[in-house]
Symmetry: C2
Subunit: 351 residues, 2 copies
Amino acid sequence: MANESAKRPLLSGLVDPPKYPQKNTTTKRKRFLRSKSAPSVDILLGPTEVGGTLPDSKLNSIYFRPSLKQVVLYLVIYLGAGAACFYLVKDQLAGRKTNGVLDAIYFSIVTMTTVGYGDLVPNSVTTKLLASVFVFTGMAIVGMLLSRAADYLVEKQEMLLYKALHMRCKGGEAHMLKQIETNKVKYKFYTTAVILVLLITIGTVFLWKVEKLEFVDAFYCVCSTITTLGYGDKSFSTGGGRAFAIFWIVTSTVCVAQFFLYLAELNAEHRQKLLAKWVLTRRMTFVDLEAADLDDDGVVGAAEFIIYKLKEMGKISEEDIALVMEEFEDLDIDQSGTLSAADLVLAQSNQ
Amino acid sequence: MANESAKRPLLSGLVDPPKYPQKNTTTKRKRFLRSKSAPSVDILLGPTEVGGTLPDSKLNSIYFRPSLKQVVLYLVIYLGAGAACFYLVKDQLAGRKTNGVLDAIYFSIVTMTTVGYGDLVPNSVTTKLLASVFVFTGMAIVGMLLSRAADYLVEKQEMLLYKALHMRCKGGEAHMLKQIETNKVKYKFYTTAVILVLLITIGTVFLWKVEKLEFVDAFYCVCSTITTLGYGDKSFSTGGGRAFAIFWIVTSTVCVAQFFLYLAELNAEHRQKLLAKWVLTRRMTFVDLEAADLDDDGVVGAAEFIIYKLKEMGKISEEDIALVMEEFEDLDIDQSGTLSAADLVLAQSNQ
């Protein structure tokens, strides 16, 4: 990435030791580390915590993240239903046919992923409407289920890739985890790129050797498939080819989609970092100081400064702040402008 | 939407007058409104401000939002280059042909949007590789340029839709703008749905009346096209049909993609609101109080409370806070834990 150097000054500040020897860094670190004890949603919702130690099981239902088992289950049910329908009306499908069951599954996959070769096409009103419904629901399924599952899988693969790339580097497991955490999207992007190259290679070799296509045609068919273009002049025509295609098409089309998704995320993250840098390095004026002074006491505390700057970065909105402020005012029974233990006892006994 | 009622208690709090008559609401409102003066990125980057009054022209380059003109320009260049290439090698395209130039543009569009009917297919090594490259770059272009342009256009249409839906309702322009702002994604979703139904109708009628397909076939071809499935058994075969297809395919495929995008956003927003509600209504414990107390003074100020709760909601991360804290400590020359005008003068004369 060409923009790595632009990011480093921002990130290194978090990883490196503090660079201001003239100040009492111990107290600062302490004050700053205190906020670590606030629960972050990421931690609350981490894969290890889900299922047992959550403070409220409602969180599970709010952030519904399907497990791999669930994704496979839903997909099998959806494809099973689709394939069963198309098997029942298999005489109303025209085109190059192999085994009845295999063709029904293959047709379902080619339709769901919107590849649509056209080597098998519906030729009755029933099958045409069936395919129309199936492709819309398929898009939703692929978008919602598979994309999440792929993200989860890529996250798991990241660590392997990092290990392979930095085999000779010093720094233990903790260093690695920190590196991956800081450059999460970047490693996801690289991992997806590696998997994509593998899938393209496997697909091309398969079409070339097993389906006996010319080498260029095999590559062209791979490109046409993974982008969901699917002209259909070259496709999987043998039983073995279609059995392979069932797995390969789903994997590779989802992989390409994730590749572009991470590319966009990487781009957004880069812009966000540039903006953060701009917001943090720009000159603070007296007008800013006054505007940031939330409680009107003439000075800006650390928390006020954080809110002001994060708002400027677009991370939080006026609406977010207003929402939380309402709750704060409910709890601040004595209207002192601060919450104390006494406020909490009073507020909660009132409820 | 079935979950509207769940959202209302949260949103209404922002729009309705405060509901706690026992408290001195004037001072509270004042304190709360103070933070309005902090510049929000949304405001800084609003369409009216871009071009002139921005405090730093760098912001423009950070948040690169192509104008409609730019999108159209890039698209014309990209498609023009593609069509020119395919026109030069038009003898290496096989299939149903009409006018040379029209076919080249039509083939470019069908490829770029990954519809890939297969009614025109490359049949030489050059055209096959050309199409492979063109579809990958096309995906990136559609994803990056068109999606942003569509979002912009939908935002403009929103207001028209809202006006049409609430013609007899009281409440002026300001009320409408507030309503749209609060339910932005919902109105975008509805607007896209309306446009989508229009595009489906236009496409079906066109294929039925002009391309002389059966009515069911016309609808089936529309579904097959807008989802980018493109089996290719039914497609645009006349010159007039292809001229229409050039515009209709781009619009409708982007529209379907946006439809699913907004659906996902709506879903994410709903979960985010549920989470916010859960975070705000759950009982605050003494442990929370201690954890939220960023400056260790024994009480939790409004700003500290906001940071603690927004972090719990996942809106801001530990990393965000750490980044801003570093800047704060740089500015806080006298290490009082607060920023005053004196700190600013000292800090900036040091630089």
